[in-house]
């Protein structure tokens, strides 16, 4: 099962390597990882996507929490949440495909962020599956380069 785990940690040198070292040392996998400062500059928020059965996810959560620099660990999937990923795609766009590429971008509510005579650079955000979908659609046209951010996630606020 895929799990999105959100970790609040001290924004100090070496903290990220404590997290990644924990994963490699204990044989847990990381599918994606994204980290940046929070409103409080001394605290970072790290979102990681991992896979495992219930016991493994329980160990991952506990082991993360055991790290001295970790403040809070949340398995985001325990409640309703929104997740987003961003991708930058450089796709081939020559005379016969330029219009088709633009149509696809429009369908995925993407943006062209760089133009050259033979290519577009496109920005798309959405769930990991939406990002994967546009990649799959553009692949036959000719993707020259992609950069993905990895998933970030946030629990939905209570509706009451």
């Amino acid at each position: 099962m895929k799990h999105t785990i959100s970790v609040l940690l001290q924004n100090k040198p070496g903290v990220l390597s404590r997290v990644t070292g924990l994963f490699s040392g204990r044989g847990f996998n990381i599918e994606s990882l994204s980290v940046a400062e929070t409103l409080e500059p001394s605290i970072s928020c790290l979102t990681l996507v991992t896979r495992g059965d219930e016991a493994i996810i329980e160990q991952i959560t506990k082991q993360l929490h055991k790290l001295i620099d970790v403040i809070k660990v949340t398995d985001v999937g325990d409640s309703e949440y929104v997740e987003r990923e961003m991708v930058l795609i450089r796709v081939k766009a020559e005379a016969q495909t330029r219009a088709e590429v633009l149509r696809v971008i429009d369908i995925f509510r993407g943006k062209v962020v760089d133009v050259s005579p033979k290519s577009y650079a496109v920005e798309v955000t959405g769930s990991a599956s939406k990002v994967q979908a546009i990649i799959d659609i553009l692949k036959p046209i000719g993707i020259q380069e992609i950069v993905r951010t990895g998933t970030i996630a946030m629990a939905r606020a209570s509706k009451k």
Binding site: G14, L22, G25, E58, Q63, K66
Partner: protein, 566 residues
């Protein structure tokens, strides 16, 4: 506010924490600290190898319960300490390791004797620090001691760049430490305690499975009270020996790979396993699906990651062992809806079954006349020290025989590398223990292989007049691996024959220590008596039955009931 140098501030911090002895080895990056130590009341013990420094501090920590401290220089000094730091980490021993580091402007430049020791020790310390600003020096050291001794204890490393230590700093007053991100749970959840106690009342075949956590939290009395009150048989892990009196009729001795027949059978047939400060290590469980297959499992541990890591637990109790056991004893004392004597009496048939197992296969060995049996040597050590010595060990057969045949009746009289299994642990650990308790007899039970891994510490023992005794069970083999080769590798003794071994009697003399040798069973007692009566470091070289094996033995990957017996 008072301005003092960084190195003086470090010493003040050590004094604040009650440190009396530290173990170290100097080098360019820590000269300032060594210099400042000369003017302090802290004994700075010069070892002969950095691994010895950290093991000695570890030995001191295990027998006293205090935080052990080692001081190493940068680069190779620090890396030489890594094995010993990992040893302490695996066994949850409270330690602070101070390492020198090159001056901050040189960090990252591949400077002379520079190594990223914080990076290297990240997976084998509870936490570690690189102090980059002298303002952080004192708070960091205080935090390091706090983290080392609280919660599940462990080693904490503080890396100290030379220029930081040389700077002047305000020595601020110590305030209680409160860390936002680190608050171990000491008190058990009352609901879980009640659930556990109610299960215990109903159990027909309960077993207490006791690990090192009971020693670390000084919970031996509370555990003994619980076991005796309700008549529950007890088995201990290698780390838990002494947590319950080994001579008590309720004690089944050690369990696991080289545990007693009765202990392994009892766990396999129990309907309730009460794990206290133990972590279901593979050397304890054997094949996991066959471990305590009929039992409901209660698990008390201060570290939540230990719970349900290897074995699914039914009633988890995250708490300090002492607090949890106290809460359980209180519950049993106050609960009115059950008859304690009746519950205790209801376990009699179970105890009778266990006694049958013990009678059928007691911890034993075959005597062979004048050929010295290693088990006999350990039995004699036990007898001639009235079971009251501090025993350290190396790793391998010597360690298992010591664990099986010395009756540990008290906590903190046993120091052995359990989790990591570090050969070379015993001698430096014995030195640390002896320095903590100069009036106690301290014996390192060793093999001829592992004693050579830190034999240089004989000089330390001599320099500081630390008369530890070393009992070498000499079979001219790396015996435990040889045993596996005999049993599972068609007796192909690859790399286990010690074709050249020093003459340990002469070696002792070379260091100014005393060397004694026994080659016959009838000589063993006299040699031990003479060693104990000698006010000097003594090596006893016992030439033992060469191919003696440690039994019982659960082959790796087998169920614990599938024991090879004597």
């Amino acid at each position: 506010m008072e301005k003092i140098s960084g190195s003086q501030a470090i010493i003040r911090c050590l004094q604040e924490e009650g440190v009396k002895i530290i173990f170290g080895f100097p080098g360019g990056a820590v000269i300032d600290l060594f210099d400042a130590l000369m003017d302090s009341d802290i004994t700075n013990v010069l070892v002969r190898h950095e691994q010895g420094a950290v093991h000695a501090a570890d030995g001191l920590a295990r027998v006293t319960g205090e935080v052990g401290v080692a001081l190493l220089t940068s680069g190779p000094g620090a890396t030489n300490g890594v094995t010993a730091i990992a040893t302490a980490y695996m066994d949850s021993i409270p330690m602070v390791i101070l390492t020198g580091q090159v001056p901050t402007p040189l960090i990252g430049n591949d400077a002379f004797q520079e190594v990223d020791i914080v990076g290297i020790t990240r997976p084998c310390t509870k936490h570690n620090y690189l102090v980059k600003d002298v303002k952080d020096l004192v708070p960091t050291l205080r935090e390091a001691f706090h983290i080392a001794r609280t919660g599940r204890p462990g080693p904490v490393l503080v890396d100290l760049p030379k220029d930081i230590v040389a700077k002047m700093v305000d020595f601020t007053e110590k305030k209680p430490i409160r860390m936002q991100t680190y608050q171990p749970t000491y008190e058990p959840h009352p609901g879980q305690i009640e659930k556990a106690c109610k299960k215990i009342i109903k159990a027909k075949n309960p077993v207490l499975y006791v690990g090192g956590g009971v020693i670390l939290s000084n919970a031996n009395e509370e555990l003994t009270e619980l076991a005796r009150k309700l008549n529950i048989p007890v088995t201990m892990t290698l780390m838990g020996l002494g947590g319950f009196p080994g001579s008590d009729p309720l004690s089944m001795g050690m369990l696991g790979m080289h545990g007693s027949y009765a202990a392994n059978m009892a766990v396999a047939n129990s309907d309730l396993l009460i794990a206290v400060g133990a972590r279901f290590d593979d050397r304890v469980t054997g094949r996991l699906d066959a471990f305590a297959p009929h039992a409901t499992i209660i698990h008390i541990d201060i570290d939540p990651t230990s719970i349900s890591k290897n074995v699914k637990v039914d009633i988890p109790i995250v708490a300090d062992c002492k607090h949890a056991l106290t809460a359980m004893n209180t519950w049993f004392n106050n609960a009115s809806d059950f008859n304690r004597d009746q519950v205790a009496a209801s376990h009699e048939p179970w105890r009778a079954t266990i006694d049958e197992w013990t009678k059928k296969h007691p911890m034993s060995y075959h005597s062979e006349g004048e050929i010295i049996k290693p088990q006999y040597v350990v039995e004699m050590l036990d007898k001639l020290t009235n079971g009251d010595a501090i025993i350290t060990t190396e790793v391998g057969q010597n360690q298992m025989w010591a664990a099986q045949f010395y009756k540990f009746n008290k906590p903190r009289q046993w120091a052995t590398s359990g989790g990591l299994g570090t050969m070379g642990y015993g001698l430096p650990a014995a030195i640390g223990a002896k320095m903590a308790f100069p009036d106690k007899t301290v014996i390192d039970v060793a093999g001829d292989g592992s004693i050579q891994m830190n034999i240089q510490e004989l000089a330390t023992a001599r320099q500081y007049k630390t008369p530890v005794k070393i009992a070498i069970l000499n079979n001219n083999y790396l015996g435990m691996v040889r045993q596996w080769q005999e049993l599972f590798y068609n007796k192909r003794y690859a790399g286990t024959v010690m074709e050249v071994t020093p003459d340990f009697v002469l070696l002792a003399k070379a260091y100014g220590a005393v060397g004694l040798r026994a080659t016959k069973t009838s000589e063993v007692e006299a040699v031990i008596k003479e060693a104990l009566a000698t006010d000097n470091t003594v090596i006893m070289d016992f030439v033992i039955a060469r191919e003696e094996c440690v039994f019982p033995m659960v082959p790796a990957g087998k169920a614990t009931t599938e024991m090879l017996l004597v």
